[in-house]
């Protein structure tokens, strides 16, 4: 693995920052990564020395071969999603956990499939609350008794109101 990393780092197409990060990881330990999903603004994938990358892009009939693949989101505020769930082995550098050594299988990189415009169609409002009951529980008019009535309105030319407190 170390030899492969040295050969990858020797390639000249990296920007200085990526080259520095890679050089720093060469001597560090790589451990198997339990995490297979990552979010990133930019993803650089470089082929090992022996074989080129085989790249499929959804919507394109043909597949592509290449040494280096870079995917990045610049204007889009959402991160790219990187899934290595289908990869056989994922090793993570102890020095820089964002440097991963992947073997076999398939890694997928995808942008956001859905925007937030459907959000308002799907979000629930708060459950309707039961109103506090202010109406009289029992209303007695002469001998007739009514329970849980609505608001009672009284009118008349003259009447007395007696309150009990």
């Amino acid at each position: 693995m170390k030899q492969e990393l040295i050969e990858i780092a020797k390639q000249e197409q990296f920007d200085p920052e990526t080259a520095r990060r890679l050089a720093a990881c060469i001597d560090s330990e790589f451990k198997s990564s339990p995490i297979r999903y990552f979010g990133a603004r930019k993803v650089i994938i470089v082929a090992g020395a022996s074989e080129l990358l085989s790249i499929r892009i959804s919507g394109f009939g043909e597949s592509f071969k290449g040494r280096q693949l870079t995917c990045s989101n610049i204007d889009n505020p959402e991160n790219l999603e990187v899934s290595m769930a289908e990869s056989e082995v994922v090793f993570q550098s102890a020095k820089d956990p964002d440097v991963l050594y992947v073997k076999g299988g398939e890694t997928s990189i995808t942008g956001p499939k859905y925007s937030d415009i459907t959000k308002d169609l799907d979000t629930l409002a708060e459950v309707l609350k039961i109103l506090p009951r202010k109406d009289p529980d029992i209303v007695q008019i002469d001998n007739r008794i009514y329970r849980q009535t609505g608001t009672v309105y009284i009118s008349g030319p003259f009447y007395l109101v007696i309150l009990e407190r």
């Binding site: 919507g59 925007s115 459907t118 169609l121 979000t123 629930l124 459950v127």
Partner: protein, 298 residues
């Protein structure tokens, strides 16, 4: 040939041009095809229907009536047994003044506002095949200011619209198209379903693919419930037979067991509600607006 047919032909030609464009040249942001979307957001759109030309200022949402109905029915819930979806149907289609009364014990101001606005857009069940343009989804707000055939209208709401209709704008549009869609782009990554942010668009809404369905969910231990009901019925039947045969002990025992099971299953006690759950009406599925379009990605 009417205007909508002319625009339809124009879109077909543009999509064909995008499909067969030389991809080796300069990168292009052109994209087009046939798409299904639940909702399309447009800014300052111009609309051509078979009868009118309408202009709206500001952002609006194009959504099918069926999708909007689903959204409102699922949006509000009443505690305990959720009666809200039934209230929506009663309020709209039965013109039932009693419908809102069913919500009178709840703090339902927001729900009532959504209901009243929805009822303005929907009159009969077949309206679910139409589309609407609304200025806000949550809470539901209708478009009340627009220009129709050059005449400024304020105060009257814009109702549901028959298909086909054309929408166009150079001020931005956004939608997520779903599978199956047939969208092509020149030098663009186009997937089976993806979010699109357009700077300009010409869109012809053709039909609504409504696969929404109203279901009753929320029930638990349905198997146990059915088993209890069946065993209870058997006990009561065999008990009745025992009574005829004058086997009083069996009659009493089976009567008690059958009645106990029936009570446990059907009496609306707290235990019953907790164990078997409360039935809840929900609308599932989506009602996609299917349209063909072309334009430039932002």
């Amino acid at each position: 040939m009417n205007e909508i047919q002319e625009i339809s032909n124009l879109i077909d030609k543009e999509v064909e041009a995008i499909t067969f464009a030389d991809t080796s040249g300069l990168s292009s942001k052109r994209i087009g095809g046939i798409a299904s979307a639940r909702i399309v957001k447009l800014r300052n759109p111009k609309i051509i229907t078979t009868e009118n030309k309408i202009e709206i200022l500001g952002p609006v949402f194009l959504v099918s009536v069926a999708e909007l109905e689903k959204s409102i029915k699922n949006r509000h819930k009443t505690p305990g047994q959720n009666i809200f979806p039934e209230v929506v149907d009663d309020f709209i289609f039965s013109d039932s003044k009693e419908a809102l009364n069913r919500l009178r014990t709840f703090d339902s101001a927001q729900a009532a506002s959504d209901l009243v606005n929805l009822a303005k857009l929907v009159k009969v069940p077949s309206d679910s095949e139409k589309v609407v343009l609304v200025s806000k989804i949550k809470p539901l707000e209708l478009v009340t200011e627009y220009i129709v055939d050059g005449k400024h209208t304020s105060g009257n709401f814009l109702g549901s619209l028959d298909l086909p209709l054309v929408l166009m704008t150079d001020n931005g549009a956004q939608f997520d198209f779903e599978n199956p869609s047939h969208v092509v782009g020149t030098n663009q990554r186009v997937e089976e379903s993806m979010a699109l942010n357009m700077s300009s668009i010409m869109l012809l809404a053709e039909r609504v693919d409504d696969n929404t369905i109203q279901i009753t969910g929320g029930l638990k231990h349905v198997g146990w419930g059915n088993a209890m009901a069946v065993v209870s019925l058997i006990c009561l039947l065999v008990g009745a037979f025992s009574f005829i045969e004058k086997r009083l002990f069996f009659f009493m025992a089976l009567l008690i067991i059958g009645a106990a099971l029936a009570i446990a299953r059907y009496l609306p006690t707290n235990w019953n509600r907790k164990f078997f759950g409360m039935s809840e009406i929900q609308v599932v599925g989506n009602a996609y607006t299917v349209f063909k379009f072309y334009g430039e990605m932002a």
